[in-house]
Amino acid sequence: MMEINNLDVKIKDSEKMILNNFSLKINDGEVHAIMGPNGAGKSTLSKTIMGHYKYEICNGNIIFDGNDVSKLDVSERAKNGIFLCMQDPTVIEGVSNSEFLRTARAECSGEKVNLYSFIKDMETFTKRLSLDNNMLHRSLNFGFSGGEKKKNEILQMLFLKPKFIILDELDSGLDVDSLKIVCENINEYLKENPNVSVLIITHYTRVLEYIRPDYVHVLSNGKIQKTGGYDLALKIEKSGYSMLGNDANE
């Protein structure tokens, strides 16, 4: 279970507060979506949960599976099972996808990765995601299209088997066919792992058509202004944030 309690977050070396007294509880197996206008704090929330170096927690905490993870460094949070599918995955020249994945799995599990099972897993996952198997030998995200980068994020997710997944603007850079493939793979993973919970950060309902949320929250001015079901997302798509009043429309 992920519990975010009374979180105040600011940009480091700045007085600007992004999240104000933000609270959210996500039970195991639940899918939550956060929508909100530009600058509402959606990406700040996802990066703060992961421990991004640019943000500072001033108050509150993040409890995951009973442990306060807000003081842990980024890799420890990942080892606890938190996975951030990034909006714009970083390009790393000189480090191959294969080396990166094997190191990540070994670090998370504390065991050396068996080469045979790694190759078999990669054959399965690249096929499922319609990715060229040769991408494993290329530098991480180097020369990848926007769609390949996002698919690579999901490949990493399938391989590392996280317990809590944050999807930050999953649909950006993905064409309709790729979005469908990516979402089908996430749904398959959730079906195989019913206790895994998901936090979807999105502007549009496109991704929610494929991954149906149990709850939709509207974030504005650093806190949740309204909560509802999928129908709330549809209303926002139709009428914009103005329908929620001034608080939700900066």
Partner: protein
């Protein structure tokens, strides 16, 4: 098929001079040494790739000068160094194209990673005396970028292991098979 040449400097300063008359790739690995390299491209239409990986502990200098002496010659230099302690590491990288040599390509990419507070300098010089040359240079001195470390750590890789992976990729420069011929260099990466 390109000709492949290797150079390895192990705590010893060395001068190299090459007259290149066919497509050539040079892998140059260096541990704590100063080197002075002069390369002449002496036949039209040939291409040179030069990969330099350097681990530095004391005050050292790497000088390389590529002279394009014929038309249609092409050079690509990739110079990567790691300055481990608080000492100086200086790169002087010259690409020279003479006035009578047309349609040359002369590129160089230089990077030094400072592990501590070393004083590093890169002087990337393009001395071009012809109007139709395609030429680029870049120079970076600093540490590994925070966003790169964040990305790697977000997959469960500890900071220390992430830096080791990055150092390996940076110094070997995508040439694993060739670097693996120099065990001492690979082992040295693990000792940084």
């Amino acid at each position: 098929m390109s000709k492949i040449l290797y150079a390895f400097d192990d705590n010893k300063n060395t001068n190299y001079k090459y007259n290149i008359s066919e497509d050539t790739i040079i892998y140059h690995f260096s541990i704590n040494a100063s080197s002075n390299v002069e390369i002449n491209l002496i036949k039209s239409g040939i291409t040179l790739y030069y990969y330099y990986g350097n681990i530095n502990y004391d005050n050292n200098t790497f000088k390389i000068k590529v002279n394009h002496l014929k038309n249609n010659t092409h050079s690509e230099l990739f110079n990567h160094g790691v300055n481990v302690f608080n000492n100086s590491l200086n790169y002087y990288v010259d690409g020279v194209v003479l006035k009578e040599c047309s349609k040359c390509i002369c590129n160089q990419e230089n990077q030094i990673i400072n592990i501590r507070n070393g004083k590093s300098t890169i002087c990337p010089n393009l001395l071009i005396d012809n109007f139709d040359v395609d030429s680029n240079h870049s120079a970076y001195i600093g540490s590994f970028r925070d966003d790169i470390l964040f990305y790697m750590m977000s997959r469960g890789i500890s900071r220390q292991v992430a830096i080791r992976l990055l150092l390996y990729g940076f110094l070997v420069n995508g040439n694993d098979d060739n670097a693996s011929k120099f065990d001492k260099f690979i082992n040295e990466i693990n000792n940084i």
